[in-house]
């Protein structure tokens, strides 16, 4: 019990003093998660929107596939991307393995289905009469799509926040594709795993506190936007 309390007290002092190593790890985490969320949003929102807005053969099958991909473990994606970017992989000549870019690629693949599936849900919830209203007011297909997207905007933002929450707390991809290299690819979760292995808890607890704080912030934002969807 003393170990936990001592670690907790030391961790608080680390957080307050903005320990250089801790700040560096948090920065790497925020950076890779930010980029992967950005890329996943740039791809996932249009995919989700098109799937929800358009009618085409195989639409339900595609939605089922996306929903299935929501449950894929991070290590499976880590392994999959590793096969491509390792020296022997087809993209090996890019030398991406154990770089932040590799983590971003893996994390983007991880949350792409999250963004797309949540966007589909957000667009599908929009009353069909909005489409009818836009059309009878003379809107073309693009203008109608814009109207629907605008009505679903809070739901789409909630999708992005949920995806960010998922990616900031994952460990498998960061470990397998980033390699947990100090000051370079060490993220909050991989650092915590390492500190645990070393048996030193101070930094792990401090990072855990920051991660929890960030997750709490994300959830607050998520519920704020979800609330606006409902209202």
């Amino acid at each position: 019990m003393n170990l936990l309390i001592d670690s907790f007290i030391s961790a608080i002092s680390l957080v307050i003093s903005m320990d250089k190593e801790m700040v560096n790890i948090v920065t790497v985490s925020l950076k890779v998660s930010g980029y992967s969320t950005l890329f996943a949003s740039l791809l996932g929102i249009p995919i989700g929107f098109l799937v929800a807005f358009e009618s085409f053969p195989g639409k339900r099958f595609m939605i089922t596939c996306l929903n299935t991909l929501l449950a894929v473990p991070t290590v499976v994606i880590g392994l999959f991307v590793y096969a491509f970017i390792s020296r022997r992989g087809v993209l090996g000549f890019f030398d991406l393995l154990y770089t932040q870019k590799a983590i971003v690629i893996g994390q983007t693949l991880l949350i792409l289905p999250v963004v797309a599936a949540f966007t589909i849900a957000a667009i599908s919830r929009i009353d069909q009469r909005y489409r009818k209203t836009a059309m009878t007011l003379g809107a073309n297909r693009l203008q109608t799509a814009f109207v629907i997207f605008r009505e679903a905007r809070y739901g789409v933002v909630a999708a992005v926040i949920a995806a960010y929450g998922r990616v900031i707390s994952e460990v498998g991809i960061s470990m397998m594709l980033g390699g947990n290299i100090r000051s370079f690819t060490r993220t909050m979760t991989t650092a915590m795993a390492l500190e645990y292995d070393k048996g030193t808890f101070t930094l792990a607890v401090a990072l855990g506190m920051v991660l929890l704080g960030l997750s709490f912030g994300m959830n607050l934002l998520f519920h704020l936007f979800q609330g606006r969807v409902r209202s």
């Binding site: 009469r129 009818k132 836009a134 009878t136 007011l137 003379g138 073309n140 203008q143 009505e151």
Partner: protein, 339 residues
Amino acid sequence: MLFKISDLTKKYSDRTILDIPALSFKKGAIYGLQGPNGAGKTTLLNILALLEIPTSGIVSYKSESVQYSEPSLQPLRKEVVLVDQLPLLFTTTVFNNMEFGLKIRRIEKEERKRRILKGLEMVGMEDFAQLPAHQLSGGETQRVALASRLILKPEVLLLDEPTANVDAASARQIKDASLMARREWGTTLIIASHDRDWLYEVCDEVMHLFRGRLIGAGEENVIFGPWHSHKDSLWERQLPDGQRICLPGAPGPDAVALIEPTSITPLTETKRDASGANILEGIVSRLTLEKMSAEIVATILIGNLPFTVKLSTQKIRQENLYPGQRVTLHYSHNSVKWL
């Protein structure tokens, strides 16, 4: 002709929603669409608004057959606009809602503002421009939806039950604003409504839709089964107040009978001829002047079943009919049609 419809059908799965062999609408006229729920009024309005594609048949607009491709439909939709029965406003301000259609038509900013203010004034909502649309009541939403269509100065304005879900004051404003569009811009109005009095008051023509088919000018008395076989090849149905109506030649027990309002004669108590079986007793509940024929449409309640009778003003005077008076209805067997 502005709209011309030939051999139009609309089916959902195997169910026929509309089956109209021929129908046309003249420019600048006001048309009323009557019929019970599920008659196909909304579907017909959606097809006229170019929002739904008919299963078969031809819809012509301004003498040209409508081509159901998005690039062909979009310019036409700028001329033909629909106000839904339960319209939605976008989740932004009333002003932005009203501006949407004007922006699409590339109307200049100053003109947009002028038209929006005029539109709001037409429906008595001048002070609502900057309010969030989702804060409006149902009646206010309906009025803003109508105003946002009126300021587009459409060629055709389609109104689907515009006064069904609003209070009397809102209904009055909606009615007045709709008629102003015809007066000011020669807009053709096609109104689906259960408000018979309003339709007869303002429409140049009223049509009656029943089970997807046009069955007449809107005033026909529709009597549902079940019919029971009676003597002398007559079919009988008991009315809600216990009286029995006997008609000849029903095709089956579930057939629907139509009786022309001109073939029913109301007689006052003193002149009652009790010899025939084709007699019913009721109370005059309403007398309405029909704009198109300048005749009087009398609604006679038999139990709670309204019968419509069409009479000249002279006949009304002669029989001294007034609401509340008990009358005997004499109907002709020859005028009965079966569906």
